[in-house]
Symmetry: C2
Subunit: 322 residues, 2 copies
């Protein structure tokens, strides 16, 4: 084990909690994942986070750990360290930073999970060496984070970077946010599955027809991908439409932010060329040619570690600034 400053990064998700012990270079010395078991309530989940942290700390020399960083779905307040709301976990107005600082007498920081992953990719992943980047994660929902002039864009309420909720089809499908026509309602895993179901219900022929009746609940974007790979017309057509919209949304962000790189992560991005090719093509339908010229639109590199590694990088920056 190397000697020197180390940091603990925790990524609190709806189903899993991931934790790493790493140094400022993003080298991981120890990591673990535990189930969130959110149904057991906030106190028990917090206790589980604490014991995960203690276990990670055991792998460091005394005094080596310089801080703990937690990322979680928002909205949350980075400045006050309070989770305002997590629809998924049902934590309301929880001063996690104060609670954890009391528990560990170490500096603790809190960050939105989209921003943390963006910062991770920026510092250690697919956007290394840039100062203007857009990170998008496409999975059941669509989230992300933005770096401009080498800094995370936070905005007034630390809520900037809601790249999944730009409306590009006014009056379109209802989104998880309650509004209509957001890109999340058109290109997320959930929306892809919804569209396939709708078209199966209309009697379209497809390899996915086995997902009729009660089996429909088991259908995920993974099966849609598998069907598309086998040349299934319905699956291909649904994905094509979803990623056409995704490309337009990315192009819009390009016009607004003129990034050096666009990084796309999340479960749906694992479809690879099935996603990246139509996205790359559709970007030009909204973005100016000189801004999409030689613009890398690339897969995220850190996978499930983007959030925890991002927290390590943010902690290191904070400790350096003093």
């Amino acid at each position: 084990m190397g000697f020197g400053a180390k940091y603990i990064g925790i990524d609190l998700g709806g189903t899993k909690i991931a934790g790493i012990l790493a140094d400022a270079g993003g080298n991981i010395f120890c990591q673990d994942k535990i189930p969130t078991k959110k149904e057991e309530g906030k106190e028990r989940v917090l206790a589980r986070i604490y014991s995960l942290i203690r276990q990670l700390m055991k792998e460091a020399e005394p005094g080596e750990v310089k801080g703990i960083g937690l990322c979680s779905p928002g909205p949350l307040n980075v400045k006050t360290g309070v989770i305002i709301e997590t629809p998924n976990l049902k934590w309301e107005n929880t001063p996690v930073v104060a609670l954890m600082e009391r528990e560990f007498t170490l500096p603790v920081i809190l960050e939105n999970d989209g921003n943390a992953a963006a910062f991770g990719e920026y510092r250690y992943g697919a956007a290394r060496g840039t100062s203007d980047m857009i990170y998008m994660t496409v999975s059941t929902g669509i989230g992300g984070g933005i770096i401009a002039n080498g800094k995370l864009v936070y905005g007034r309420d630390y809520s900037a970077g809601e790249v999944g909720h730009v409306v590009i089809l006014p009056g379109g499908p209802v989104c998880s946010c309650g509004r209509r026509g957001c890109i999340e309602s058109l290109a997320s895993g959930t929306s892809i599955v919804r569209e396939v179901k709708n078209r199966l219900a209309k009697g379209e022929k497809s390899l996915l027809q086995e997902f009729g009746g009660e089996n429909l609940n088991r259908l995920t974007a993974k099966e849609v991908e598998a069907a598309a790979v086998q040349g299934d017309c319905l699956a291909l057509s649904v994905l094509e439409k979803a990623f056409y919209y995704l490309g337009i949304a990315v192009g819009n962000l390009v016009n607004i932010l003129n990034p050096e790189v666009v990084v796309i992560g999340g479960g749906v991005s694992k479809m690879g060329p099935l996603l990246f090719e139509p996205v790359q093509k559709a970007i030009g339908l909204s973005a100016f040619p000189h801004m999409c010229r030689d613009l890398p639109v690339v897969p995220a590199q850190l996978g499930g570690e983007a959030g925890t590694k991002g927290m390590v990088a943010l902690l290191h920056r904070k400790v350096q600034k003093g």
Copy 2:
């Protein structure tokens, strides 16, 4: 005349060139406007800019003028000081900064006119005291600029802030940029007039019917506004639709950037409540409630001086940094 550092700000437009002599507080000591006469060619226009600058310098004590700032439509390169292209003026690859520094032996800076106006409103106008703001100018086209974390967002090619070219109606009307469904193609003065013409051509009744046949060329957004004020249904319906889209586009920017204030300037914004009320209403169709809560969406305060004053503020910042 006050004694101290003074700056010259020049706003090079397609029809007029505006110039001011001002101090870092934005106090104007002298100003003038001259016609661009772009048809006379680049050399003559440059000569006219030089004589405007000389005239403004006469109003300062010797040595008081610390720099000259020029803003112009882009694309241009802020770093190299080269106007790459101005479709309007037909200047191509013109190293204006080098040319002007040789002429005046003073520091010269170049900026995109949307960014300059954004910075002017940020420093002296409707966004004073904020660190995250969006500026939009709605006139014949739609442009703007973005400030995040207290800095202009430039991006890779100094081209960020193209807020008029976010597509919110894929496959919609053809835009001046050649693509389809940009907000400029839906809510600019030009698009408002185009929509009125289309509906008149279909035989709809309106106070604007006098603008039939050859008179159509004289129709501007101003007449549409006047008809709307008189309760004309066609005019009201066209404006309502345009500003509904504009509100959705603003809401998208709010979700991405979470600003403290949105400033809207440009000729069309002078319609006042006719624009601001529907925009304010439609923002909520795309933006998250907590990001539009208490979010001021306000008229620009500097009018035609936003660009020149912005250049003065940018010059002052540059000189201070050394």
